[in-house]
Symmetry: C2
Subunit: 140 residues, 2 copies
Amino acid sequence: MKQELLASLGIKVTKQRKVIVAILEKSKEPITAEEIYSCIDVQEGINFSTVYRTLNTLAEKGAVTKTGEPGGKIYFQLKEHHHAHELECLACHKHIMIDECPVESFSRTLNKETGFVVTEHHLQLKGLCAECASHSDKSV
Amino acid sequence: MKQELLASLGIKVTKQRKVIVAILEKSKEPITAEEIYSCIDVQEGINFSTVYRTLNTLAEKGAVTKTGEPGGKIYFQLKEHHHAHELECLACHKHIMIDECPVESFSRTLNKETGFVVTEHHLQLKGLCAECASHSDKSV
DNA sequence: CTCTGTGCAAACACTTTGCACCAAC
DNA sequence: GTTGGTGCAAAGTGTTTGCACAGAG
Protein backbone atom coordinates (compact mmCIF):
# COMPACT_ATOMS: atom_id res chain seq x y z
CA MET A 1 0.00 0.00 0.00
CA LYS A 2 1.31 3.35 -0.87
CA GLN A 3 -0.92 5.50 1.18
CA GLU A 4 2.00 7.89 1.20
CA LEU A 5 0.49 8.94 -2.09
CA LEU A 6 -1.96 11.07 -0.15
CA ALA A 7 0.70 12.74 1.94
CA SER A 8 2.84 13.33 -1.12
CA LEU A 9 0.01 15.25 -2.72
CA GLY A 10 -0.06 17.66 0.18
CA ILE A 11 -3.56 16.76 1.28
CA LYS A 12 -4.76 15.39 4.56
CA VAL A 13 -4.58 11.67 5.10
CA THR A 14 -7.98 10.62 6.30
CA LYS A 15 -9.50 7.23 6.85
CA GLN A 16 -11.91 7.80 3.98
CA ARG A 17 -9.22 8.74 1.51
CA LYS A 18 -7.10 5.77 2.47
CA VAL A 19 -10.00 3.47 1.79
CA ILE A 20 -10.73 5.07 -1.57
CA VAL A 21 -7.12 5.00 -2.68
CA ALA A 22 -6.87 1.39 -1.62
CA ILE A 23 -9.85 0.53 -3.78
CA LEU A 24 -8.38 2.39 -6.73
CA GLU A 25 -5.15 0.48 -6.25
CA LYS A 26 -6.92 -2.84 -6.15
CA SER A 27 -8.90 -2.11 -9.27
CA LYS A 28 -6.60 -2.52 -12.21
CA GLU A 29 -9.15 -0.99 -14.51
CA PRO A 30 -11.11 2.26 -14.37
CA ILE A 31 -14.10 2.21 -12.05
CA THR A 32 -16.98 4.55 -11.39
CA ALA A 33 -17.66 6.48 -8.21
CA GLU A 34 -20.64 4.22 -7.73
CA GLU A 35 -18.52 1.10 -7.86
CA ILE A 36 -16.11 2.56 -5.37
CA TYR A 37 -18.97 3.52 -3.14
CA SER A 38 -20.49 0.08 -3.21
CA CYS A 39 -17.13 -1.39 -2.18
CA ILE A 40 -17.06 0.65 0.99
CA ASP A 41 -20.69 1.06 1.79
CA VAL A 42 -20.87 -1.97 4.02
CA GLN A 43 -17.65 -1.81 5.93
CA GLU A 44 -16.88 1.81 6.49
CA GLY A 45 -19.93 3.92 5.83
CA ILE A 46 -18.30 6.61 3.73
CA ASN A 47 -20.52 9.17 2.09
CA PHE A 48 -21.09 9.42 -1.61
CA SER A 49 -20.06 13.06 -1.64
CA THR A 50 -16.80 12.13 -0.01
CA VAL A 51 -16.12 9.62 -2.74
CA TYR A 52 -16.70 12.21 -5.42
CA ARG A 53 -14.80 14.89 -3.58
CA THR A 54 -11.85 12.63 -2.99
CA LEU A 55 -11.78 11.50 -6.59
CA ASN A 56 -11.93 15.04 -7.84
CA THR A 57 -9.22 16.11 -5.47
CA LEU A 58 -7.03 13.26 -6.62
CA ALA A 59 -7.76 14.15 -10.22
CA GLU A 60 -6.84 17.79 -9.61
CA LYS A 61 -3.62 16.73 -7.95
CA GLY A 62 -2.92 14.63 -10.98
CA ALA A 63 -2.99 11.30 -9.19
CA VAL A 64 -6.08 10.04 -10.94
CA THR A 65 -7.43 10.27 -14.45
CA LYS A 66 -11.02 10.47 -15.53
CA THR A 67 -12.28 8.59 -18.54
CA GLY A 68 -15.69 7.65 -19.82
CA GLU A 69 -18.07 7.88 -22.72
CA PRO A 70 -19.81 11.14 -23.47
CA GLY A 71 -22.89 11.53 -21.35
CA GLY A 72 -22.08 8.46 -19.33
CA LYS A 73 -20.61 7.81 -15.93
CA ILE A 74 -17.12 8.96 -15.10
CA TYR A 75 -14.49 6.28 -14.69
CA PHE A 76 -11.53 6.89 -12.43
CA GLN A 77 -8.16 5.26 -12.30
CA LEU A 78 -4.81 5.87 -10.70
CA LYS A 79 -2.36 7.29 -13.17
CA GLU A 80 0.22 4.67 -12.38
CA HIS A 81 -1.85 2.27 -14.42
CA HIS A 82 -1.40 4.50 -17.41
CA HIS A 83 1.26 4.56 -20.01
CA ALA A 84 2.51 7.71 -21.65
CA HIS A 85 2.14 9.23 -25.08
CA GLU A 86 4.20 11.85 -26.74
CA LEU A 87 3.25 15.09 -28.42
CA GLU A 88 5.52 16.38 -31.09
CA CYS A 89 5.51 20.02 -32.06
CA LEU A 90 5.86 20.35 -35.82
CA ALA A 91 7.23 23.88 -35.47
CA CYS A 92 9.86 23.71 -32.73
CA HIS A 93 10.20 19.93 -32.68
CA LYS A 94 9.82 19.87 -28.95
CA HIS A 95 8.58 16.59 -27.50
CA ILE A 96 6.09 16.64 -24.68
CA MET A 97 5.06 13.63 -22.64
CA ILE A 98 1.48 13.25 -21.51
CA ASP A 99 0.27 10.50 -19.27
CA GLU A 100 -3.32 10.49 -20.33
CA CYS A 101 -4.49 8.12 -22.95
CA PRO A 102 -7.67 8.52 -24.96
CA VAL A 103 -7.50 4.99 -26.23
CA GLU A 104 -8.38 3.32 -22.96
CA SER A 105 -11.83 4.74 -22.73
CA PHE A 106 -12.30 4.26 -26.46
CA SER A 107 -11.33 0.62 -26.21
CA ARG A 108 -14.04 0.07 -23.67
CA THR A 109 -16.66 1.57 -25.94
CA LEU A 110 -15.33 -0.31 -28.90
CA ASN A 111 -15.51 -3.56 -27.01
CA LYS A 112 -19.09 -2.94 -26.01
CA GLU A 113 -20.07 -2.08 -29.56
CA THR A 114 -18.08 -4.54 -31.61
CA GLY A 115 -16.66 -7.15 -29.27
CA PHE A 116 -13.14 -6.26 -30.35
CA VAL A 117 -10.64 -6.45 -27.50
CA VAL A 118 -7.82 -3.96 -27.84
CA THR A 119 -4.67 -5.32 -26.30
CA GLU A 120 -2.15 -2.89 -27.63
CA HIS A 121 -2.08 0.42 -29.37
CA HIS A 122 0.28 2.97 -30.70
CA LEU A 123 -0.57 6.63 -30.87
CA GLN A 124 1.38 9.45 -32.44
CA LEU A 125 0.23 13.00 -31.93
CA LYS A 126 1.66 15.89 -33.86
CA GLY A 127 0.74 19.52 -33.96
CA LEU A 128 1.73 22.82 -32.43
CA CYS A 129 2.75 23.37 -28.84
CA ALA A 130 1.16 26.20 -26.91
CA GLU A 131 3.83 28.75 -27.79
CA CYS A 132 4.14 27.91 -31.45
CA ALA A 133 0.38 27.84 -31.78
CA SER A 134 0.03 31.30 -30.29
CA HIS A 135 2.77 32.68 -32.55
CA SER A 136 1.18 31.37 -35.67
CA ASP A 137 -2.19 32.65 -34.55
CA LYS A 138 -1.02 36.14 -33.86
CA SER A 139 1.11 36.44 -36.95
CA VAL A 140 -1.98 36.17 -39.15
CA MET B 1 -26.98 20.04 -49.04
CA LYS B 2 -27.43 16.40 -48.70
CA GLN B 3 -30.73 16.28 -46.96
CA GLU B 4 -31.17 12.98 -48.73
CA LEU B 5 -29.18 11.74 -45.82
CA LEU B 6 -32.37 11.67 -43.81
CA ALA B 7 -34.31 9.75 -46.41
CA SER B 8 -31.44 7.33 -46.86
CA LEU B 9 -31.59 6.48 -43.19
CA GLY B 10 -35.18 5.42 -43.49
CA ILE B 11 -36.54 8.08 -41.19
CA LYS B 12 -39.02 10.81 -41.88
CA VAL B 13 -37.78 14.01 -43.41
CA THR B 14 -39.15 16.78 -41.25
CA LYS B 15 -38.43 20.46 -41.20
CA GLN B 16 -36.77 20.14 -37.81
CA ARG B 17 -34.45 17.37 -38.90
CA LYS B 18 -33.45 19.22 -42.01
CA VAL B 19 -32.49 22.22 -39.94
CA ILE B 20 -30.48 20.12 -37.51
CA VAL B 21 -28.67 18.23 -40.24
CA ALA B 22 -27.91 21.49 -41.99
CA ILE B 23 -26.33 22.85 -38.82
CA LEU B 24 -24.28 19.72 -38.38
CA GLU B 25 -23.10 20.03 -41.95
CA LYS B 26 -22.11 23.60 -41.50
CA SER B 27 -20.19 22.91 -38.33
CA LYS B 28 -16.95 21.31 -39.32
CA GLU B 29 -16.21 20.45 -35.72
CA PRO B 30 -18.22 18.64 -33.07
CA ILE B 31 -20.91 20.72 -31.39
CA THR B 32 -23.18 20.25 -28.42
CA ALA B 33 -26.94 19.92 -28.48
CA GLU B 34 -27.06 23.28 -26.78
CA GLU B 35 -25.06 24.94 -29.54
CA ILE B 36 -27.29 23.43 -32.15
CA TYR B 37 -30.31 24.58 -30.23
CA SER B 38 -29.06 28.12 -29.99
CA CYS B 39 -28.53 28.17 -33.75
CA ILE B 40 -32.14 27.42 -34.45
CA ASP B 41 -33.88 28.96 -31.49
CA VAL B 42 -34.46 32.29 -33.17
CA GLN B 43 -35.45 31.30 -36.65
CA GLU B 44 -37.37 28.10 -36.35
CA GLY B 45 -38.42 27.48 -32.79
CA ILE B 46 -37.49 23.85 -32.56
CA ASN B 47 -37.72 22.17 -29.19
CA PHE B 48 -34.76 21.06 -27.17
CA SER B 49 -36.12 17.54 -26.92
CA THR B 50 -36.37 17.38 -30.65
CA VAL B 51 -32.74 18.33 -30.97
CA TYR B 52 -31.71 15.57 -28.61
CA ARG B 53 -34.06 13.05 -30.14
CA THR B 54 -32.89 13.83 -33.62
CA LEU B 55 -29.25 13.64 -32.63
CA ASN B 56 -29.77 10.34 -30.90
CA THR B 57 -31.69 8.98 -33.83
CA LEU B 58 -28.92 10.04 -36.17
CA ALA B 59 -26.37 8.48 -33.86
CA GLU B 60 -28.32 5.23 -33.76
CA LYS B 61 -28.53 5.20 -37.52
CA GLY B 62 -24.82 5.70 -37.61
CA ALA B 63 -24.89 9.09 -39.31
CA VAL B 64 -23.53 10.95 -36.33
CA THR B 65 -20.91 10.26 -33.70
CA LYS B 66 -20.89 11.34 -30.10
CA THR B 67 -17.73 12.51 -28.42
CA GLY B 68 -16.97 14.43 -25.28
CA GLU B 69 -15.10 14.44 -22.01
CA PRO B 70 -16.24 12.25 -19.17
CA GLY B 71 -19.01 13.90 -17.22
CA GLY B 72 -19.22 16.73 -19.71
CA LYS B 73 -21.54 17.70 -22.50
CA ILE B 74 -21.99 15.46 -25.48
CA TYR B 75 -20.53 16.66 -28.75
CA PHE B 76 -22.09 15.53 -32.01
CA GLN B 77 -20.68 15.46 -35.49
CA LEU B 78 -21.58 13.98 -38.82
CA LYS B 79 -19.52 10.93 -39.55
CA GLU B 80 -18.41 12.25 -42.89
CA HIS B 81 -16.09 14.58 -41.05
CA HIS B 82 -14.33 11.62 -39.57
CA HIS B 83 -11.42 9.70 -40.81
CA ALA B 84 -11.05 6.01 -40.29
CA HIS B 85 -8.84 3.87 -38.14
CA GLU B 86 -8.06 0.24 -38.47
CA LEU B 87 -8.28 -2.59 -35.98
CA GLU B 88 -5.98 -5.50 -36.48
CA CYS B 89 -6.76 -8.86 -34.97
CA LEU B 90 -3.58 -10.45 -33.68
CA ALA B 91 -5.11 -13.90 -33.93
CA CYS B 92 -6.75 -14.08 -37.34
CA HIS B 93 -5.03 -11.01 -38.80
CA LYS B 94 -8.31 -9.66 -40.00
CA HIS B 95 -8.41 -5.90 -40.51
CA ILE B 96 -11.50 -3.98 -39.46
CA MET B 97 -12.17 -0.37 -40.31
CA ILE B 98 -13.86 1.86 -37.77
CA ASP B 99 -14.91 5.38 -38.45
CA GLU B 100 -14.86 6.63 -34.93
CA CYS B 101 -11.81 8.34 -33.60
CA PRO B 102 -11.03 8.79 -29.94
CA VAL B 103 -8.33 11.30 -30.68
CA GLU B 104 -10.63 14.09 -31.73
CA SER B 105 -12.30 14.48 -28.40
CA PHE B 106 -8.99 13.96 -26.66
CA SER B 107 -7.36 16.67 -28.71
CA ARG B 108 -9.95 19.12 -27.57
CA THR B 109 -9.29 18.31 -23.92
CA LEU B 110 -5.59 18.42 -24.48
CA ASN B 111 -5.84 21.80 -26.07
CA LYS B 112 -7.85 23.17 -23.18
CA GLU B 113 -5.39 21.79 -20.65
CA THR B 114 -2.07 22.38 -22.31
CA GLY B 115 -2.61 24.66 -25.28
CA PHE B 116 -1.18 22.05 -27.60
CA VAL B 117 -2.96 21.95 -30.96
CA VAL B 118 -3.08 18.52 -32.50
CA THR B 119 -3.02 18.77 -36.26
CA GLU B 120 -2.34 15.21 -37.15
CA HIS B 121 -2.29 11.85 -35.50
CA HIS B 122 -1.70 8.27 -36.22
CA LEU B 123 -3.36 5.48 -34.30
CA GLN B 124 -2.78 1.77 -34.49
CA LEU B 125 -5.07 -0.57 -32.60
CA LYS B 126 -4.33 -4.22 -32.19
CA GLY B 127 -6.08 -6.92 -30.25
CA LEU B 128 -8.61 -9.68 -30.71
CA CYS B 129 -11.69 -9.48 -32.87
CA ALA B 130 -15.01 -10.56 -31.41
CA GLU B 131 -14.73 -14.15 -32.62
CA CYS B 132 -11.13 -14.71 -31.67
CA ALA B 133 -11.74 -13.12 -28.31
CA SER B 134 -14.66 -15.41 -27.57
CA HIS B 135 -12.67 -18.47 -28.59
CA SER B 136 -9.80 -17.64 -26.34
CA ASP B 137 -12.19 -16.88 -23.49
CA LYS B 138 -14.07 -20.12 -23.75
CA SER B 139 -11.04 -22.28 -24.20
CA VAL B 140 -9.78 -21.37 -20.73
C1' DC C 1 -55.28 7.25 -42.90
C1' DT C 2 -51.46 5.60 -40.28
C1' DC C 3 -47.61 5.97 -37.78
C1' DT C 4 -43.51 8.40 -36.77
C1' DG C 5 -41.99 12.79 -35.06
C1' DT C 6 -42.88 16.97 -32.23
C1' DG C 7 -43.72 20.13 -28.30
C1' DC C 8 -44.20 20.65 -23.64
C1' DA C 9 -43.21 19.78 -19.06
C1' DA C 10 -41.92 16.77 -15.85
C1' DA C 11 -38.62 13.17 -14.61
C1' DC C 12 -33.94 11.33 -14.68
C1' DA C 13 -29.12 10.06 -13.57
C1' DC C 14 -24.99 11.52 -12.17
C1' DT C 15 -22.44 14.87 -9.94
C1' DT C 16 -21.72 18.98 -7.14
C1' DT C 17 -22.41 22.13 -3.19
C1' DG C 18 -23.78 24.69 1.44
C1' DC C 19 -23.59 24.21 5.99
C1' DA C 20 -22.42 22.49 10.56
C1' DC C 21 -19.55 19.26 12.74
C1' DC C 22 -15.03 16.62 13.12
C1' DA C 23 -10.47 15.17 12.73
C1' DA C 24 -5.65 15.79 10.81
C1' DC C 25 -1.76 18.59 11.19
C1' DG D 1 -6.23 25.66 17.63
C1' DT D 2 -6.67 26.05 12.62
C1' DT D 3 -7.75 24.44 8.59
C1' DG D 4 -9.12 21.27 5.60
C1' DG D 5 -12.32 17.13 5.27
C1' DT D 6 -16.79 14.83 6.08
C1' DG D 7 -21.75 13.82 6.31
C1' DC D 8 -26.14 15.04 5.08
C1' DA D 9 -29.50 16.72 2.19
C1' DA D 10 -30.56 19.66 -1.22
C1' DA D 11 -29.50 21.78 -5.75
C1' DG D 12 -27.36 21.49 -10.23
C1' DT D 13 -26.50 20.10 -15.02
C1' DG D 14 -27.25 17.82 -19.10
C1' DT D 15 -30.21 14.50 -21.07
C1' DT D 16 -34.38 11.62 -21.48
C1' DT D 17 -39.37 10.46 -21.47
C1' DG D 18 -44.81 10.32 -21.35
C1' DC D 19 -48.48 12.12 -23.44
C1' DA D 20 -51.45 14.34 -26.75
C1' DC D 21 -51.27 16.55 -31.08
C1' DA D 22 -49.42 17.26 -35.87
C1' DG D 23 -47.35 16.28 -40.13
C1' DA D 24 -44.82 12.92 -43.41
C1' DG D 25 -45.50 8.88 -46.17
